[in-house]
Homo-oligomer: 337 residues x 2
Amino acid sequence: MSSRITIADVAQAAGVSLMTVSRVVNNKEGVSEETRHLVSQVIDQLGYSPSGIARSLVTRRTGTLGLIVPDIANPYFSGIAHGVAEIAYAQGFSVLLCDAEENPQRELSLLRVLEEKQVDGVLLAAPRQNTPDLLPFLARHTYVVLINRLFDSDIENGSFGYVINNDEIGGEIITQFLIGRGHNQIGFLSGPTTSYGSKQRVHGYKAAMREASLHIRPQWILPCHPTVAGGKEAARIFLQQHPEVTGLLCFNDMVAIGALQASLEVGRSVPQDLAIVGYDDIPMAALVTPALTTCRVAFEEMGRLATQLLIDHLNNCEEACNNIILTPELVIRASAV
Amino acid sequence: MSSRITIADVAQAAGVSLMTVSRVVNNKEGVSEETRHLVSQVIDQLGYSPSGIARSLVTRRTGTLGLIVPDIANPYFSGIAHGVAEIAYAQGFSVLLCDAEENPQRELSLLRVLEEKQVDGVLLAAPRQNTPDLLPFLARHTYVVLINRLFDSDIENGSFGYVINNDEIGGEIITQFLIGRGHNQIGFLSGPTTSYGSKQRVHGYKAAMREASLHIRPQWILPCHPTVAGGKEAARIFLQQHPEVTGLLCFNDMVAIGALQASLEVGRSVPQDLAIVGYDDIPMAALVTPALTTCRVAFEEMGRLATQLLIDHLNNCEEACNNIILTPELVIRASAV
DNA sequence: CTGTTAGCGCATTCAG
DNA sequence: CTGAATGCGCTAACAG
C-alpha cells in the first residue's frame, strides 16, 4: 500500500530511465544538474519514497543494527540504548530494539530474528548469564560488539568487538575510598554470582583490601539479587550477622538503595554509623536520601562507543576498530563521605 | 556475506524444488511429512536462514513496527518501550527504535526513515510539542497509533489509533485528594505549556477546585520544565511568592522531586508543612524521601495496549480496534498523607 | 502433494 | 552524461 509508486513511475513521469532516477535518489554523479533538478521535482510531486527493502536486497546491506538488552526499562540499559540511538542516527543507521526480558533463552531467539532481518551488525548488552549456546548464534552474525560483557575465554572474546567498563578498577576505587576514610571492616553485597561484573568488582575489592593489609573475610562478601528488594534483604541479613562492619559496598545502585532502606529499619544511620557505596550512578542515585556515593559508569558513552566501533568495522576502518575499556569514576555524595 | 546460502541451495541439496523448501520454511500445507522432514534436515545441516528482506519484498510486509520516543533514557518512555517490545515479540514483530532526542524536527526525519524501512505501522509516543508538519508525515504511513498524545482537533485524531491516559481525571483525583485532606490553598507546578497532558491535568485541577467551591487563582498555576531542575527552580519561586499554599501538585514526579529539594532548602518539611504530589509514578517515585504520593500512569500497559491495537489493525481485526483511554490511579505514599 | 513461471523494486554491470 | 539488461532471494499463482 505504502510504496505504491516506484522508481519506474518517477522515471516515466520525468521522461528518463530508471537509472537516472536511481542516481539522483542516491546522490550519485553522472547526472546533469538540469535533469537532476527535474527528477527531484517529480519525486517531490509524486511523493516517491525509495524502498529500503528492494535496495537492501541488491546491496546486501540493511543499514540496520540490532541491539539486544536484558530489559529496556532498566535505566542502565535505556541509557546505553540512548547512546546507541544517537550514534546510529548520526551515521544513517536504524536500530532494531530487542528486549530479552532477562531471559537468556530469549536472547537466542532474538539473535535468530536479527539474522532473518539481516541486520548489518549486532550490539549485545550484558546478559546476566552465560548461555552455552550463545556463541554459535553469535557466530552467525557478521559482526558483534559486546557491551559490558565478556566471555570467560580470551579466545572467544577475540571474535568480537567489545566496550567494557573496568569493573576491577571500579571495585578497587570504591574500596580504597572507604579505606581512606578510616574503614577497615568493609562488606560487599556482591550481586549475582553469574555476573562477570560482579566477579571483577570483587577482585578489585580484594586487591584493595590486600594492598591495605586488611584481612579478607569471605563471609563479608554476600551475593544478592541486583534489585532494591534484593539489596534490602541481603543488607538486613548482613547487618545482623556482621554488625562490626562500618562500610558496605554494593553491586549496584539499586542494591545500595535497598541497603539504605534496611539501614533505616535496623536503626543505623548513614553515613554516620554505616557508609554505603553504590555502583553505576544511575539517575536515581543522586535523588535518594542520603544521595548515593557511587562509581560512575558511562552508560550512554558506552552505547555511543560500541555503536561507533560497530559501524567503523562495517566500513572496514581497520585502524579505528580498537576495543575499548572504560575506567569508572568515583562520585562522592552523602551516603559515604 | 551472512545469507550466502539460499533457498535454492537447500532445494538442490534436498533434491526438491524451491517451492517445497519455501513451504516447509513457512510451515505451509501441501508437503508430505517425509519430504518435510528431509528438507528440515537439510536446512539445519546447511545452516540456512531465510532472508527476511527478500520475503518482505514480495509479501510487502516487514513484520516490523516503528517506535518513536522523545528520549529512551527517560523512564517514562523506556517503560512504554518495554511494553511495546513485549507484545511485539509475542506476536512475531520486531521494533525499530527511534529516539527523537526531544527534537520535533528529528521526529519528522525519523518518520521518513521508517517509511523507507517500510515498517508495517508506527507507534508515536508523546512528543512534547506539536509540529505543524507532523500530520502529512504521519499520513504517509499505513497505520499510526498515538501513545499519550492527541492533536487539538478530533478530526485529526480520527485518522489515528490512540491509547491515552485520562489526565483530566488524573488532575482531578490528586486535587480532590488534597482537598479531602483539608487543603484549600493548592498550587500547581504545571509543566510545559505546550504539553497536552499539562492542559488536561490543569483542567482536572480546576474542575476539582470548582467542585469544592474553592477559588481558582491563576497565579497558583506555574508552568515549568518537566525536570528535577525545572521543578526545583519553579518551587523555589512559587513557595516564596505564595507561602500560604499548603498543597503542591506537580506536573510529574521529576518536578515533584525538584519541589521536594526546594522545600528542604526553604525549610518547609514535607508533608507536615507542605504536601507534595507527583504524577506518573516512575520507579524513582517510591525511592525518594519522603516517598512520593503520586498518580500512577500505567506506562508498560500503555505500550502493550498500543502495540496490540496496532497489530490488530494490521490484521484487519476491525472489532478489536478500539482506542483506549486509561484511568490513572492515586498512589498514597509519604509526601502527602 | 509437487514444480514452473513470473515478478516484488532496485542497483550493478556494461553499452552507448 | 544516459540507458538496457540482469539478478538480489523469495513467494503467489498457477500448472501438473
